[in-house]
Symmetry: C2
DNA sequence: GAAATTAAAGCAACAGTGTTTAGTTATGGC
DNA sequence: GCCATAACTAAACACTGTTGCTTTAATTTC
């Protein structure tokens, strides 16, 4: 696969990624990308030609010709992303910068089947069509196969076994479609928006279940079969309370038991302990919290997690609640589309 | 960084990696690498020129000109690797195929200091010098920094704080030196030897401590600060037995308690449970067991782990004990050197 | 057993990457 | 107003993998 086209795509993506984090100059880009100034000029020329960047004034840094500022043309490309939950479908429109421009939410009937879902998705998408649209991303509950776009056996949805959802959606929408686990699209959202700052991070999604999205060495890690991130069923209490999964003492079971009995401190403390273990295992330096439970009590979860993290000053870990709120999963699905077109090729 | 040199290095490494797994033909290489036959011819030509490959006969596959077999010249390049433990230094010589050609073991005095260690290392290395030697790899207990080559604060070694070991060793040995955590060198050994077969794997090292080496998407994952793989201090039993780390109910504490009281089944079952959780979290399809405890009772640990793994037939996980035995860490350190020269650039 | 067919591998010309070299342009300082 | 400085770029370049065609060596066919 690695050939000249790959190389160009890669460097274009590097430069575009740096430009995404704000106004930059060619000199900045050269320093931060490791490319020579001449190479940067060529890449920038290409990107300007495609309408992805524009020159926007100059910045003076002492004697000599001032540096030309470059700005991302955020609205030059758009993407749609959808989050699919048991009872609700959320569709979000984002621009190239990863900012949410529009959203639509619709209820889904109990135990909806694939045709019903595709029809509803098509309805919402048609309400947000745009010439600049690159495609549609879908953030679904797993297990599913990201590469083939097949839902394997969605947890909690009885009518979803081995459904080739990407194909079905592409046929109905006449747009490129990508499918991924909700936790993965959520971490994509954070990674796309924060760029180079975020290389090793976990996104913890606390809802009815407990999943994580993993960003490792700057890449979303999906595992051998798109099944990575099943965090909720890690044992944290030998002989603990029974879990829906059939085992006992899973993080999810212990957490939900505390949460349902109104013990918020206990619930956040369990999540904190589990996240601290995860941070220790993976040595990530960023933790992002998301999901309905977290957004209902953001301060409590933040405190619960921070309290348990190691305090070594050479291993600082930054913890935050996702700034995208309820939109993370859907917005991340849209950014997954953007990254297919303008992210680093793999 | 990505430029033409990178591209060449990458494709050379891909081809060399495929050739490492046995005799191949140019046609095989083209199919399995995705490169065009012409590109493969050029790459193979380069590698033959460097003495890394040789043609070795032909294989007939029907009509037409027979395919030319290509073989790795395993002994064209060599590397040394060392494993450093509290009481012992082990140095191993490996060839390009990752096979162990020679080894030397020497005791280390209690609480040895860096100069003592470097002197002993130099003595053993000098006994195994060779013109084809590319460098020396060191597998050490963490925490340490792989990139700078500095031992941060080796667990159990009181005289090792912020020691620039790579520099010290390079000065003394006059050879390139790389430093990494023992768990990381161990997984490098498995990855180098099994090539493309192994993309997502964990190596579990069970000794006095319990660490894991992570191979994710075909790359060794070290974390933001070379500290990934601290698996032993994951909580598995809320309010469990106290651990040396100051917390309670760590996998390591529970395991060691069982092991010391002679409860082998209990010990292996805890490791099995913990590994199953890890497999679920990371969706790896290979688990390799290693370390003194495992090698003392290989069948028991294999059974203990296999018993706890999920049985879904679409998520098969292969479990095995490392075929390299006590040499894994040292041999992996040597292969880390090989991969610096002939592995995929990052 | 000679000619035709098939498939591997190599040669030569090529398109396109980032790099090197040598300018050109725009600013601040004197 | 001139000069030094720094940003930027045009042209030539080295080297990548690709394309199109030829050579080589085997099997198949008549």
């Amino acid at each position: 696969m690695p050939n000249l086209r790959f190389l160009r795509g890669y460097n274009d993506a590097v430069v575009l990624g740096l430009a995404r984090s704000g106004a930059v100059t060619r000199v900045d880009l050269a320093e931060r990308s490791g490319l020579t100034p001449q190479a940067v000029s060529k890449v920038v020329g290409r990107l300007i030609g495609e309408g992805l960047l524009v020159e926007s004034g100059t910045r003076n840094v002492g004697v000599g010709k001032p540096r030309t500022l470059l700005k991302l043309v955020a609205d030059s490309r758009l993407a749609l992303g959808a989050q699919v939950e048991r009872d609700e479908l959320r569709v979000v429109l984002t621009d190239l910068a990863g900012d949410v421009l529009d959203r639509a939410v619709a209820p889904l009937p109990p135990d909806f089947d694939p045709p019903t879902f595709v029809a509803e998705l098509t309805r919402l998408v048609n309400g947000m069509r745009d010439d600049k649209l690159l495609g549609v991303g879908l953030g679904f509950v797993g297990p599913l196969d990201h590469r083939t776009g097949v839902i394997h056996d969605a947890t909690g949805l009885v009518k979803w076994h081995d459904v080739p959802l990407r194909e079905l959606a592409e046929d109905s929408l006449a747009l490129p479609v990508v499918l991924d686990k909700d936790t993965n699209t959520a971490i994509v959202a954070e990674a796309w928006r924060r760029g180079e700052q975020l290389r090793d991070a976990v996104l913890v999604l606390v809802g009815t279940g407990l999943g994580v999205g993993l960003l490792l060495d700057g890449q979303v890690y999906r595992g051998a079969r798109t099944n990575a991130g099943e965090f909720g069923h890690t044992t944290i209490q030998l002989d603990g309370p029974p879990c829906v999964c059939g085992r006992t003492g899973c993080i999810e079971a212990v957490h939900n038991l505390a949460a349902r009995s109104g013990d918020l401190a206990g619930a956040t403390s369990i999540v904190g302990l589990a996240v601290a273990d995860l941070v220790q295992l993976l040595d990530v330096d960023h933790v992002v919290l998301a999901g309905r439970a977290v957004l209902a009590e953001p301060e409590a979860y933040l405190a619960g997690v921070r309290a348990k993290l190691p305090t070594d000053d050479w291993l600082p870990v930054e913890v935050e609640v996702t700034p995208l709120g309820d939109d993370v999963v859907a917005a991340g699905a849209a950014m997954l589309v953007l990254s297919e077109f303008y992210g680093r090729p793999r």
